[in-house]
């Protein structure tokens, strides 16, 4: 397995340095970038994360409130669909703070070139975010299907180990969690508690 903490460590250090410099709302810095963490309804205030052990809190890249806020701002408006996943990434843009790319919808069994190049994550991405598919609650078998999507799967671990950057996930239960590298391996942490049983 290839893995590195480099991105996460740099991100955390810089984010603390710029913690008070966040600007709000949407940024129009070009390309496909549009959402910043600060200015979201969660704001940029430090997250106390009481459920996180103290020794993990001190690890660079862990429980970064600004990074969490950027991911939540990007994921919250996304409506989960049964036929694909929303994916995107987050970069650090100096004084602007964390900036999330426009989410891209990847349909399953999609034809054409998009089938091959699903999404290229830039080398300077400090985190990725994505959703899992969710079926309409009234659909047959939706409960079992959606329940199975409420946790990180093998592919989610793969990206964390390979890139060493946090992987945010919005699940059918409307909760948002992050899988991130810790000294003891990839650990998931709840960022937004689930709102539904599914």
């Amino acid at each position: 397995m290839r893995g590195s903490f480099a991105n996460g460590a740099v991100t955390a250090a810089m984010s603390y340095a710029f913690a008070s410099m966040g600007s709000g709302g949407r940024s129009g810095t070009g390309d496909d970038v549009s959402v910043t963490g600060c200015g979201s309804r969660l704001g940029c205030a430090p997250d106390d994360s009481p459920w996180l052990p103290e020794y993990l809190k001190s690890y660079p890249g862990t429980s970064d409130p600004m990074l969490d806020a950027a991911a939540v701002a990007a994921l919250t408006p996304l409506r989960l669909r049964p036929d694909g996943e929303w994916v995107g990434y987050i970069q650090f843009r100096g004084p602007v703070g964390y900036v999330a790319s426009q989410p891209q919808f990847l349909a399953f069994q999609e034809q054409g070139n998009a089938l091959v190049v699903d999404l290229s994550v830039p080398q300077d991405a400090v985190a990725i975010y994505h959703t899992h598919p969710a079926m309409n609650r009234r659909a047959t078998g939706a409960r079992a299907f959606n329940s199975a999507q409420n946790s990180f799967g093998p592919g989610d671990h793969h990206v964390v180990y390979q890139r060493g950057i946090p992987n945010y996930l919005k699940m059918p239960n409307q909760g948002i969690s992050v899988l991130e590298m810790q000294p003891i391996g990839a650990i998931s942490r709840t960022v937004v508690p689930p709102r539904t049983r599914w």
Partner: protein
């Protein structure tokens, strides 16, 4: 006479070009070392290989080994074996013969984590390793 020679030449040229075209060949199974060493040359060619195939959440991949793999290839099957509605019921972990169009040199698969991909793939679960 000249016209006949030109016709024959054109026919021969056509036959040669057909023999090296990127047609699906299920009978020739490439080894993983061949895949590794000739990956650039194989780009755009149909290949067939035997590997450890995993279809699970956000994973549709064939590996060169069941454990401690050194090579991984993203797979886009023609079947629905990797669709979420299938893998949530029964994830697949098995040796399989995978035949399809080989891609190399880009960023493939979810989040572009894979250097190689096989698309339009036939996945036949079997003990092809033996």
């Amino acid at each position: 006479m000249v016209k006949f020679a030109l016709t024959v030449s054109a026919l021969l040229l056509f036959l040669v070009s057909c023999s090296v075209s990127s047609e699906r060949q299920d009978d020739v199974v490439l080894s993983w070392s061949e895949i590794r060493e000739q990956s650039a040359a194989l780009d755009g060619q149909y290949v067939s290989l035997c590997g450890w195939f995993v279809a699970d959440r956000d994973v549709c991949t064939v590996y060169d080994s069941e454990e401690d793999y050194t090579l991984e290839i993203w797979v886009r099957p023609k079947s629905e074996i990797c669709l979420p509605v299938e893998v949530f019921r029964s994830p697949t972990r098995s040796w399989a013969k995978v035949t399809g169009l080989f891609h190399h040199g880009g960023s493939y698969g979810l989040f572009g984590l894979y250097e190689s991909a096989i698309t339009d793939a036939d996945v036949k679960l079997s003990d092809c390793k033996k």
